[in-house]
Amino acid sequence: MIPTVPQPVFAKWCYRAYVTVFFVYLALPLTVVCVFAFNNSVFPSLPWEGFTLAWFFGTEAPFIGVLNERSIMRSIGTSAFVAFWVSALAVAVGTCNAFLFVRHEFRGKALLYMLMLLPLIIPGVILGISILVFSSSVANTLEDATGLWFDGLRPGLILVILGQFSFITTFATLVISARLQKFDPSLEEAALNLGASKLGAIRQITLPFLLPAIVASAVVSVLMSFENFNTTLMLVGSDSPLTITMFDKLKQGSTPVLNAVSLLLIIVSAALGLLSLLFQNAKR
């Protein structure tokens, strides 16, 4: 079945119908989430009670909008804090890794590369519990030895950041390496011939070339961090990021305020996703 080979009309239409149904299936859940954010009812379900913006701006119970729901606003702040650090760390380490894998030959390189890919095939829950178990045992040992408290190694934001960083770095490494491989080393050599120092050449020639990939991987890291659930669930302490707060609310029975948060999330994630693609495909 390719355009240049004629096919029966009926088969063609069946195929198109299937593709249409598939895209409806893709769009349906997100559409209903968005639509019910505007329903003037305390349940996110039918019947339709009329259009309202109360789930965004409302101040009176039970219609408390997102902007006035303190637990949600606080968890958005927590998520942003976590995402910032995860993204910064992942991009920094990812850039180093890209230089290491593209520019250097050393014994055990293939093995190290395979190890670098491992976080992709470890289920998120396992990554979470292994870091939880390990950091707790380190904390126990240190506390027994010194008599001091090591709260940073107990479930909490630091562990959440480390847990997300542990697998997001792999993605950052892959994106930045792919771009560095396309770099023409003669440009850097030219800079060296013109009297630049090694570091100066990297800073002024190579890093600007890598910038689109660096920005793209930073955006993707923020996105992945914001929506991560499995790893975060195991490592979370008292300050919960957005997905955890939403999960707790969802289990208790939800009001359309969750739809309103989801709508905002959909808009922001779609925008960030498109942005990352734009940067990744940036031609030079």
Binding site: I121, P123, F134, K251
Partner: protein, 288 residues
């Protein structure tokens, strides 16, 4: 190269990756294994042994849940492949330029959105007072409200929805690289649609099929949200059991053993998938 400065540079680049992999990946998994083979014999007293693994095999609830999780993940993977392949083929071979980019983006957008939001959408659609139940009543197809949520079919719908992109993207990439003239040649030589699919398209798409299947299986196996939220009280999932042992029961030893069993199963499937298709991890995963 070889000078002291570039050796220093090399070690400076090596340090972060080693720190990351050793401290956050290798040591925690070694630790997890050590905890899984320790048995609690008194307060803060432990002994080495395989009791936790024995508990897994002797308690039907545990290994049945494990088997159920594995079987449902395999079914979800097969279903995702069957549903996703025609879509990938359509995008790769039957569309061009703008349309192709648009369709591809339409596939990607749902997956930039948090899994929680997607699952929430399915809850609104499937529950007793939900959109589908109401539509069916409106159309006169059913008499009263029907509950479509909290069963295995709902879990399946959610799992396929959550992971289909990871099947479609590698398939589109591999199918894109298949030259149309090969398919034309197949027709010229008298092949039928079925035989061309079997002899030309599917063998060419094999790397994409394998990497898609591996990722989808792993995601389903390690999924927590979908089975918990869309499945009922009785529909157990192995990740849920791990969570219960760790957070609710505070039995880390048994939980670690469970975690290791899940990790073992998912690694085994990745290994078999790569072996079967003769690919290496680097080329399968490194492309994504």
């Amino acid at each position: 190269m070889g000078s002291d400065r570039s050796r220093l540079g090399f070690y400076l680049l090596l340090a972060p990756i080693l720190l990351w992999l050793i401290v956050l990946i290798i040591l925690p998994h070694v630790g997890l294994f050590l905890v899984s083979i320790s048995e609690k014999i008194g307060p803060r007293e432990y002994e080495t042994g395989f009791d936790n693994y024995a508990a897994f095999f002797s308690e039907p609830l545990y290994w049945r849940t494990f088997a159920r999780t594995a079987i449902m993940s395999i079914m979800a993977t097969a279903l995702t492949l069957i549903l996703g392949f025609p879509i990938a083929y359509y995008i790769a071979k039957l569309t061009r330029g703008r349309t192709k980019t648009t369709l591809f983006l339409m596939c990607m957008i749902p997956f930039w959105v948090s899994e929680l939001v997607r699952t929430f959408g399915w809850m609104i659609l499937l529950r007793e007072t939900g959109v589908i139940s109401n539509t069916l009543q409106y159309l006169g197809l059913v008499n009263g409200p029907i509950e479509l949520l909290y069963n295995d079919a709902a879990i399946m719908v959610g799992l396929v929805y959550t992971s289909i992109l990871f099947m479609v993207v590698p398939l589109v990439t591999t199918l894109d690289s298949l030259d149309d003239s090969l398919i034309e040649a197949g027709y010229d030589l008298g092949g039928t649609s079925t035989s061309i699919m079997r002899e030309i398209v599917i063998p060419h798409a094999m790397p994409g099929i394998v990497s898609g299947c591996i990722v989808v299986f792993m995601l389903s196996l390690g999924n927590y949200l979908t089975p918990i939220l869309l499945g009922g009280k009785d529909s157990l999932w192995f990740t849920g059991m791990i969570y219960t042992q760790f957070i609710t029961r505070f039995n880390w030893e048994l939980g670690s053993a469970f975690g290791f069993l899940l990790l073992g199963l998912s690694s085994l499937v990745v290994f078999l998938g790569l072996k079967f298709s003769g690919q290496s991890l680097s080329e399968t995963m490194g492309r994504s």
